[in-house]
């Protein structure tokens, strides 16, 4: 139901955005955008895999659906984005005719700030660098693990970010139409400081047997470890800008997490193809 709602929202917004009457000439992407504010609505599908050595040495894999909303501000000199994403998946392991399933829900929030570097470089290239603060939390339910069926972990991470954007707008039009402004960009996030918030040595907490409920009971034995996680994330974006400064973005994103200095490592990776509607809210 929620997927249908998102689908139709995207369709309606597409109709709104493509009926705009503004005209623009083929030109440099950044000059075309000016200093614009966007609401980014994104839906995607991909492959996720995870392994939590605290409960299993086996990988669980499956198709994941990802939905995201963010507010972004883009200009030649800076990109600022704040938003959250929700990923849902049923990851499976079926080895030795022994099937098990881990229902995964992931919520992540982010705030990123990128600023232009090499300002006097090529007109068609734009390089930015900066940082991203990201918090990701997983809820996993794997009933085959009996008393250890529920797994929760969180990873607050500060990333260092590099982004290269290439304006690939055609110089000449086909059939006399104005060419659409297009760009291709690659973004790399590497964790600088990352903490893991995970179960302690025994994986299970004793909250329920000492009559503690709520978060106290659930997370009583959790431990925070600074520098407890390494993470790498990359995104390849292909963006088509419409004449009214709305846009469509097609992306392939990959991210991976691995805990370190932990009692038992946690490993998780996602590959996602996603489509994003960039809905312009303000042009400066």
């Amino acid at each position: 139901m929620k997927q249908h709602l998102l689908f139709w929202t995207l369709i309606i917004l597409t109709l709104i955005t493509t009926t705009g009457s503004l005209k623009a000439h083929a030109q440099d992407e950044q000059a075309f955008l000016g200093n614009s504010r966007y609401i980014d609505l994104s839906a995607g599908v991909g492959l996720s895999r995870l392994r939590d050595f605290a409960t299993s040495p086996l990988f669980y894999e499956g198709i994941a659906h990802r939905y995201a909303v963010s507010l972004s501000r883009m200009s030649e000199r800076r990109d600022i984005s704040t938003g959250f994403a929700f990923l849902t998946s049923n990851l499976e392991n079926d080895y030795n005719e022994h099937a098990a399933e881990s229902a995964l829900k992931t919520l992540s929030v982010h705030h990123s700030r990128l600023y232009q570097i090499f300002g006097n470089g090529s007109e068609r290239w734009n390089f930015k660098a900066g940082g991203e603060l990201n918090g990701t939390a997983n809820l996993r339910v794997n009933r085959s693990l009996m008393n250890s069926a529920v797994g929760i972990e969180a990873f607050p991470i500060l990333f260092g970010t590099l982004k290269a954007t290439r304006n690939i707008t055609r110089q000449s039009s086909r059939r006399g139409k104005e060419p659409k402004t297009k760009s291709l960009s690659f973004k790399l996030n590497a964790s600088l400081i990352g903490a893991s918030v995970r179960n302690g040595y025994s994986y299970l907490g004793i909250g329920q047997i000492i009559n503690k409920s709520g978060f106290d009971g659930l997370l009583g034995d959790y431990q925070v470890k600074a520098f407890g996680v390494s993470s790498l994330a990359t995104t390849l974006d292909y963006t088509i800008w419409l004449k009214n400064k709305n846009g469509w973005r097609f992306s392939y994103a990959w991210d991976a997490y691995k805990t370190s200095r932990d009692f038992a490592d946690f490993e998780m990776a996602s590959h996602t193809f996603r489509v994003t509607l960039l809905f312009n809210t303000k042009n400066n």
Binding site: D94, Y95, S148, I209, L236
Partner: protein, 335 residues
């Protein structure tokens, strides 16, 4: 330009996959019998909570059971070896689960059989006794005592059910709570029940958790309290009936009664099960669980894992199938 775009997609895609392989450890799926044996033995060695109390030499267990592992052994044979190894822990919170078998110790059979529900139904309860949620109950001993049978901690102990029962038996001289052959379940029920039998916030027991690889590496003991329910409570004497089949959450309840002055245990020693069982998976996909915590008495003794002793020992006389000697003993105490 198109070629460059396509090429960049391929290069970046390959880069992602190779990064993932470099970042993560290798695949660990394996049907190799020795690898699975080692994995399970090590998990228990580093996390099981009761080696010392039970006097188990786990290294000796490794020597004896690894000798039974051989290349090419069938899954059934491997299961028997690993399941038997876990049964060395003598703990019903320990199981091995495959898609063709489940291992368990069976602590119930270590004691004498002291319960037959049919004897209770035929000789103590009226034909149409009350059933309120998970409880079967009615008046016994000429209406002087309320009898409540609670067969498992189903997580469904309900305030309305409890209110109804305790209000119904408020004029009795005492209550019998029958936990015999109650294998446990949801621990939340323990506190729902006990909150009806206390007048002040009461320290019931302590729990400590494994926090290191050494057999005696534990966290500091943490207190378990129960607070009085803000409503109908029962303050007269309560006899809790127990036997070797009283396990896990039912055993926790039995342990807690030691801190409650108006509640006492009648019957046989319980089956223990004061450890919280932790679940995991082997490289061949089978799953297992075992205890990773200790329940401690108020003087921080962990020996009740071997069974919480009854305050008033009593056992069945199977030559007379019309009497439940344990109920009779409880009635004697309450009247």
């Amino acid at each position: 330009m198109k070629r460059i775009i396509h090429l960049s997609y391929i290069v970046v895609g390959l880069l992602f996959f190779s990064c993932e392989s470099a970042l993560f450890d290798a695949e660990n799926e394996s049907k190799d019998p020795m690898k699975n044996f080692d994995y399970l033995w090590t998990q228990c060695d580093e996390k099981y909570a009761y080696f010392d109390l039970k006097g188990i030499n786990w290294d000796d267990v490794k020597v004896r059971y690894s000798a039974k592992i051989y290349d090419g052994m069938s899954d059934d044979s491997l299961f028997k070896v690993l399941g038997s190894m876990l049964n060395e822990l003598k703990d019903d919170h320990t199981n091995l689960v495959s898609n063709f078998n489940v291992s368990s110790y069976g602590v119930l059979r270590e004691g004498k059989d002291n319960f037959d529900w049919r004897i209770v139904e035929d000789n103590y309860l009226p034909r149409r006794f009350y059933q309120s949620g998970p409880f079967s109950h009615d008046f016994i001993a000429n209406g002087q005592i309320g009898y409540i049978r609670f067969p498992e901690f189903s997580g469904t102990v309900d305030k309305k059910n409890m209110d109804f029962m305790l209000d119904r038996y408020k004029d009795t001289k005492g209550l019998i709570l029958d936990l015999r052959e109650n294998g446990g379940g949801a621990v939340t029920d323990v506190f729902e029940l006990l909150s009806r039998f206390v007048e002040t916030k009461t320290l019931l027991y302590y729990v400590r958790l494994k926090n290191g690889k050494g057999h005696n590496d534990f966290t500091e003991p943490q207190e378990a309290y129960v607070e009085p329910y803000d409503g109908i409570r029962y303050t007269k004497p309560v006899a809790v009936l127990v036997d070797r089949g009283t396990f896990s959450a039912a055993s926790f309840t039995s342990l807690a009664t030691k801190a409650l002055p108006n509640v006492f245990l009648v019957g046989d020693t319980t089956g223990g099960g004061l450890g919280l069982p932790n679940g995991g998976q082997l490289p061949n996909g089978w799953t297992y669980r075992f205890s990773i915590s200790q329940g401690l008495t108020l003087d921080k003794n962990n020996s009740f894992e071997n069974g919480v002793p009854a305050d008033i020992p009593a056992s069945f006389d199977w030559t007379n199938l019309k009497r439940d000697e344990i109920i009779d003993r409880a009635i004697d105490e309450l009247l």
